[in-house]
């Protein structure tokens, strides 16, 4: 496949016009660093600048979504722009905007590098979900990882340093293992493009246990990013140590990016269901373990941040359920759940940040906050109810969709692992009720000493109110979002 130089330049130029939002983000990173040098005295300009950058990247999607609906390969098949990746990228940008809104309060602690790193993680996530090539997967995963190691330590405390060290050691081992897996896959297929037919044909022809081995090694990197169970121990430590906006960001953006690329990669690895190795079972077992370990460990937690860490592990289990279904519909429901997950997670974290700023750091200290900070407590309650998956919130609809797709997959293939996954998923939903409602229990049932009332009109409350309306709307009118998601065709 030798192309002339002009053809290659043309394809690169075409690619750049298609990747406008990634170009905006990359320019934004440089602008933020430059701005940090030039306007060090006026720190309030940085969040504004970062806000504008993400917003312009978001606006481009809305324009782009109407223009291109066929998948387009860019940069010689390195990236592919399609509906699936565009939808996830919109979610990332919304999460980025919400993160900036959360960090608005204490911008004193945030030099321009903070915003540059947030933009870098966003750029990595954008590229990761578009990647069709193992080289590109590696680079964008590392872009996310290396930036997040630094972001994890942004509290500038003893604990922050410890958290970021643990994150770093875990993360780099996982990515090294992943690269080794990629190298073996490359050796067996002779191509790095995992969407190409050569990749599938060669793997089908080999059919040795080495395929299974290499595939397992390669998925380690993704499982680490979504904090699925064998690769989860970093999450609680990092979540406890990092500042609140950063946790909210970590729990959404790298996780959804990892899930997005895992979905594509698994489809290729399972050779579209023709593989002798049952990848559906492997990921099903991982999902069962993730759900169970995440939920049961969360029961014992005293720190709300650690609680949310285990909650986010358990939630990746639910996202994995959508992947395990291995059907176009399963992916669509997974996208719906991802949207709901983004909203409810940010809702909880915004309230938790407010309580943290009032000096409430452990679950016992929430006693009586239901009276004192009534609005934040109510929003926290709604967020927790949504995370549990109870009506009338979008969390219920999301879980219902994900499990119904799993049920359909079970009826089609009759694999026992899918039934077990369903059983464990439902049982774990019950278990999660006990820890999710613990903070609201302390807030509303236990009485505190202070009777001071909270003013409703704070920026946090208004932002939470918007999220609450969204999450209720997703319960009463899920068709609005589903109509949009249904147009997304998932192809490899």
């Amino acid at each position: 496949m030798v192309q002339s130089l002009t053809e290659q330049l043309d394809s690169i130029r075409m690619g750049i016009t298609m990747c406008f939002s990634e170009v905006v983000l990359s320019t934004g990173i440089l602008l933020m660093l430059l701005g940090g040098l030039l306007f060090r005295k006026k720190p309030s300009t940085f969040p504004l600048l970062a806000f504008l950058i993400i917003l312009s990247s978001l606006l481009f999607f809305i324009v782009q979504a109407q223009q291109f609906d066929v998948p387009v390969k860019l940069f010689n098949g390195m990236l592919r722009s399609d509906d699936f990746s565009t939808y996830l990228k919109i979610l990332f940008d919304i999460a980025g905007v919400l993160t900036l809104a959360m960090s608005w309060r204490n911008q004193k602690n945030h030099p321009s590098e903070f915003y540059a790193l947030v933009l870098a993680v966003l750029l990595g996530a954008h590229l990761l979900v578009m990647s069709m090539n193992m080289l590109m997967v590696f680079i964008s995963l590392e872009l996310i990882s290396i930036s997040s190691y630094v972001l994890a330590g942004f509290a500038f405390t003893r604990k922050g340093a410890e958290g970021s060290l643990k994150y770093f050691l875990f993360g780099s081992v996982a990515s090294a293992v992943m690269v080794y897996g990629f190298s073996i896959l490359y050796g067996m297929t002779g191509t790095l493009d995992f969407s190409s037919s050569v990749f599938v044909e060669q793997l089908l022809a080999r059919n040795s246990p080495l395929v299974l081995m290499a595939g397992l090694l390669a998925t380690v990197g993704f499982l680490f990013k979504i904090s699925a169970v064998p690769m989860h121990p970093w999450a609680p430590d990092v979540y406890e140590a990092a500042p609140m906006p950063v946790i909210a960001f970590f729990s959404v953006v790298p996780k959804l990016a990892g899930i997005g690329v895992l979905t594509k990669f698994l489809l290729a690895l399972s050779l579209f269901g023709q593989s002798v190795y049952d990848w559906q079972m492997i990921i099903g077992v991982v999902a069962i373990l993730t759900l169970t370990v995440g939920n049961f460990s969360a029961l014992l937690q005293k720190n709300p941040k650690r609680l949310m860490a285990y909650s986010s592990i358990a939630q990746s289990g639910f996202l994995l359920v959508g992947v395990v279904a291995f059907m176009p519909q399963g992916v669509q429901f997974m996208l719906f759940y991802a949207t709901v997950y983004l909203i409810m997670n940010f809702l909880v974290f915004i309230s938790l940040q407010y309580f943290e700023s009032k000096g409430i750091k452990s679950i016992e200290e929430f006693s009586g906050t239901g009276v004192q900070f009534i609005w934040s407590s109510v929003f926290l309650l709604i967020g927790m109810v949504a995370l549990t998956g109870l009506p009338p919130t979008g969390g219920f609809t999301g879980k219902l969709f994900v499990f119904s797709s799993l049920w359909e997959a079970y009826q089609l293939s009759e694999k026992p692992v899918l039934l077990w996954l369903l059983v464990f998923g439902l049982l774990n939903t019950v278990v999660s009720l006990f820890y999710y409602l613990r903070i609201p229990y302390y807030a509303f049932i236990k009485s505190g000493d202070s009777q001071e009332r909270q003013n409703f009109l704070t920026p946090e409350n208004l932002l939470s109110l918007v999220l609450v309306i969204l999450i209720l709307a997703l319960f009463f009118l899920p068709g609005m979002l589903m109509g949009w998601i249904n147009k997304i065709t998932f192809v490899l």
Binding site: E142, G153, V179, Q301
Partner: protein, 101 residues
């Protein structure tokens, strides 16, 4: 076509050695060294497998990128270890136990 078996044996050995170093050594700097070994095992694989594809440089390209990324990772990692050392006067993760349930 040249036989590439011995390259693969060497890379498998390097990878296992890297994993052993990561697990056994307690110092964060030594763990970093083990990670470097694992990445180089992957590099060796990539370059060796590229022999099977004459005329293409995909494996070489990947190896180059892995080297560059490994350098970035080491730079960030050493900075983090330095920060930890300032706070705890040690670079042994086992002795740093502030984050516990």
């Amino acid at each position: 076509m040249a036989p590439i078996d011995h390259f693969l044996y060497l890379s498998a050995f390097l990878f296992s050695a890297g994993i052993v170093v990561v697990i056994v050594k307690r110092n964060a700097i030594m763990v970093l060294l083990g990670i470097e070994l694992m990445l180089n095992a992957a590099n060796l694989n990539l370059v060796a497998f590229n022999i099977l594809q004459p005329g293409l440089f995909t494996g070489h390209m990947f190896a180059l990128f892995v080297i560059v990324v490994a350098v970035c990772e080491a730079a960030v990692g050493l900075a983090i270890v330095l920060r930890v050392y300032q706070h705890y006067q040690t670079s042994i993760p086992d002795e740093i136990q502030d984050l516990k349930e």
